[in-house]
């Protein structure tokens, strides 16, 4: 029993880095490269993500987490009260460690559009967490799809200076239909846009 009358400390506790050994629990036993299964509805996409450091060298001990809506633009979560159907074959969460070349890939579907604030509607996007040894707390970013006309009216992209928006765009990989390249630069000249979420 805790002593009565003592006011509990209700400040969120601090983040600490995942360090180099997280794979033994977070990814090796249950890697989640297939966000979408064979029964999931929607346009198939493969996201090939590479994480780079300030010098442009690949980061071989990073982890990427992805959270996304289904093809209708509905999250599989009780706080999404939109009257759109949940896809029973789709949770929307993926998690992978990068390999020796700093790469990890996800097989998923292109998410539908979800509401933004006010009357806005967001362009198709995935929310992304980047973790690594030397990254003291999660870096939050997003993946959008280059060339999607909805990008022009996305309320979150509108918060990003135009010159930096390209860092959030997945680019189609030539010769591989449905495959998209998503580069994450932790730092340096091509630094990815990260959000204070």
């Amino acid at each position: 029993m805790k002593p009565r009358g003592k006011k509990p400390d209700l400040v969120p506790i601090p983040w600490q880095t995942v360090g180099p050994f997280f794979t033994i629990t977070l990814t090796d036993p249950r890697p989640l490269p297939n966000i979408a299964g064979p029964d999931t509805k929607g346009e198939r996409v493969k996201l090939v993500c590479t994480v780079f450091d300030r010098e442009g060298a690949p980061v071989p001990d990073a982890m990427i987490e992805i959270w996304q809506a289904n093809a209708e633009g509905k999250y599989n979560h009780p706080d999404d009260t939109q009257k759109k159907p949940v896809d029973p074959a789709f949770l929307g969460f993926g998690r992978m460690a990068t390999n020796g070349e700093g790469i990890c890939a996800f097989d998923t579907i292109k998410p539908g559009r979800v509401p933004g604030r006010g009357k806005s509607v967001q362009a198709p996007h995935l929310v992304v967490g980047v973790f690594a040894r030397g990254v003291l707390k999660r870096l939050a970013t997003r993946i959008y799809f280059a060339g999607d006309p909805a990008n022009d009216e996305d309320p979150v992209l509108a918060l990003v200076p135009k010159a930096r928006r390209a860092t959030l765009m997945a680019q189609p990989i030539a010769g591989e239909p449905g495959a998209w390249r998503c580069d994450v630069h932790l730092s340096g000249k091509r630094e990815t846009v990260f959000f204070d979420v």
Binding site: T81, V127, L136
Partner: protein, 262 residues
């Protein structure tokens, strides 16, 4: 699933929500989460932790007002957990070496509400200070009876419990004669993308804590204490294991949700 009073608000809004002819929702409740006090959290760039300059952004983060994408996140259930997942001393044929310990606590949000049914994942080195990981080269023995990996769900009141052995300290190459204090890594989801937390739990009285750049990266020294578990006789099982309490506070929701007219 009782997830605080917001669950009630959510339900009532759902039943009274109106739908336009084209199927678009007319109203949607967005209930954002509190922002962190920056002094209570580490920065990205902290040069005494030597690898951070190569891996930290220099441009200011862009503040993102929470949308549906940030207030939702993966939901787990009891099907995701097996019986020995929270007992790291029973995952092999024999028992691991080291001090057997119970690590237990409560997960609350910063409004004081319990966070039920949330996934907690842990990883740690063995009693000798060695991880069961291929890249750990520290010349301390591996323990064939210890993997150092665990997971559990909080119960309806936010409580969790792990049985494990006390991890050892170990050297690392950050600076001359650098040693990590004994620690257990914790990963939590909470209810949303915004509430995700990965941290490390330390042990009371560990003389290495004041020298550790990963702890010292947190500007507010009072916040360091939040990462140090407390020895508790009430959690200590007679003749069996020492008990350490580690309560975890995640971000909670702002006072007022807002409704979006669509």
């Amino acid at each position: 699933m009782a997830r605080s009073s917001t669950a009630v608000a959510r339900r009532s809004s759902g039943s009274s929500g109106r739908t336009a002819k084209n199927g678009q929702e007319l109203s949607l409740i967005i209930h954002p989460y509190h922002r962190h006090d920056p002094r209570s959290q580490p920065p990205y760039l902290y040069p005494p932790y030597r690898i951070t300059p190569a891996r930290s952004p220099r441009k200011p983060l862009i503040v993102l007002p929470h949308t549906l994408s940030e207030i939702t996140g993966p939901v787990y259930g009891h099907g995701d957990i097996t019986e020995t997942d929270n007992d790291l001393t029973r995952q092999h044929a024999g028992e691991p070496l080291g001090e057997r310990i119970t690590v237990s606590g409560r997960v609350l949000d910063d409004n004081g509400r319990p966070v039920p049914n949330t996934l907690i994942e842990i990883w740690q080195c063995n009693a000798a200070g060695r991880y069961a990981h291929r890249i750990d080269q520290h010349p301390a023995p591996l323990d064939p009876n210890f993997s150092g990996t665990g997971r559990t769900l909080t119960d309806a009141h936010g409580n969790y419990l792990f049985t494990t052995v006390k991890p050892g300290p170990y050297p690392w190459n950050n600076h001359p004669n650098a040693w990590r204090p004994a620690h257990i890594h914790f990963s939590l989801f909470g209810a949303a993308f915004a509430t995700r937390l990965v941290t490390q739990m330390y042990f009371p009285g560990d003389p290495l804590i004041p020298f550790d750049p990963i702890v010292n990266s947190i500007p507010d020294e009072k916040a360091h204490q939040r990462l140090i578990s407390k020895f508790e006789l009430d959690l200590t099982k007679p003749g069996w294991s020492l008990g350490f309490r580690f309560d975890i506070v995640l971000r909670g929701r702002e006072e007022t949700p807002f409704e979006t007219k669509r």
